[in-house]
Symmetry: C2
Subunit: 243 residues, 2 copies
């Protein structure tokens, strides 16, 4: 039976891949992914065949992977972060119904929420939500409802895809929504280029975050009512009771 590994390669640096992810790539004949991710791994697997498709061509990329597997090759489909968090794992199962002879194995990785958290200090720690601000596949009304629901229930919120050329004011809109329930003084943090060249991190208030420009390589963290700044780090306590 042909096999495809759907592999989370972590935030970027080779040393943040798991041993299992490295082993999957080593066992593969061909490594397929979005150009940027293939560029992140190719120097470590110089002998492997690499195939890329551009962004927003995800279905095509899945079909390519299954077609290669049908030829008898072992394939790794790589995703940044974790394959199952805004990654390709779901679409691979959906496209896979047409390829019952191909076996899928998902290999987990460090997603930007936890990779970025490690850079900022300890912003998550307790209950949190991931919300993508991209409305490419999700209606904005649904995103709005989630921002409000998560804020009202005092979750730490981690925002993926906080901005793009077409969505330059989405973070500002999201902050205004969260401030309906969260204090403008809520401790927040941003991390850009996690575990890649040019990694930067900054801790600020929600009010300041509202007027901060971020790009698509930035992950945003919004604290809960207990989150504090300790010596420049963003830290959420474990719970609400003093022990």
């Amino acid at each position: 039976m042909s096999k495809i590994y759907v592999v989370g390669i972590g935030p970027g640096a080779y040393d943040q891949m798991t041993g299992k992810a490295i082993a999957a790539l080593e066992k593969s004949d061909v490594i397929i992914g979005y150009t940027v991710y293939v560029d992140l791994v190719k120097e470590h697997f110089p002998e492997k065949e690499m195939m890329t498709t551009p962004m927003k061509r995800e279905v095509e990329r899945c079909v390519l992977a299954f077609d290669e597997a049908k030829k008898g090759k072992t394939v790794s489909m790589i995703c940044s972060g974790d394959a199952g968090v805004y990654g390709m794992a779901g679409l691979m199962y959906e496209v896979g119904v047409n390829y019952p002879e191909v076996e899928l194995e998902i290999v987990a990785g460090v997603t930007a929420a936890t990779g970025g958290a490690a850079v900022l200090g300890a912003p998550l720690i307790h209950d949190f939500c991931l919300i993508s601000l991209s409305d490419l596949l999700t209606p904005w009304e649904k995103i709005e409802k989630r921002l409000l629901g998560a804020s009202q229930a005092d979750f730490v919120i981690c925002l993926y895809n906080p901005s793009s050329r077409k969505r330059h004011d989405y973070l500002e809109k999201a902050c205004d929504l969260m401030m309906q329930y969260k204090s403008p003084e809520t401790v927040c943090g941003i991390v850009a280029n996690i575990a890649r060249e040019g990694e930067t991190a900054q801790v600020m208030t929600l009010k300041e975050l509202r007027d901060t420009k971020v790009d698509m390589f930035t992950t945003v963290f919004v604290g809960n009512s207990q989150t504090k700044e300790i010596n420049g780090k963003m830290v959420t306590p474990r719970g609400y009771r003093n022990v």
Copy 2:
């Protein structure tokens, strides 16, 4: 300056640790953790000094780590999954204010949400929440509010600590709350002993989950309105628009 690494060792299997986590443990003179986690790594680092403290003695464990570091040792404090997701990273910063001469570095890992998701298929994929059902440090009213808020906003929900001897009916209570907004037919999944001996996974409906007994080594996944079962796997699509 003395250094402490706060290291997420992943769900359990050695091959799910990152290269950075392994390097941190290799650089350390002493590895400190809850007994169960130290048992998971000690065969791979036979030459290292290991120190353990029991569960619920977390502050004591942090003080122990800082005291060892003050002696000039390099220390790794290990956590299962990710150090910043219901892990020790936050408490280490809090205790660390008394030890300004000790530097902390957080090393991210694969948390149960993503490690378990890889076993079930692709349950998360899009926006999701992590909620712990343990009311040891969080009032139940707060947990209830989060279960309701997350369900109403149609998040995929991943439950940590779904049960314990004292809280045997909490999952049942949580399911009843989620069913105020989620259909009883919502696709759910459970994974026990992720990446450890005796790993098992099961896909079921929310109504069935309500009457399922789970233990403290189980992670629970509750789908959103789009989540489906595909050939025994739990799969959430990327968004709400067909593309």
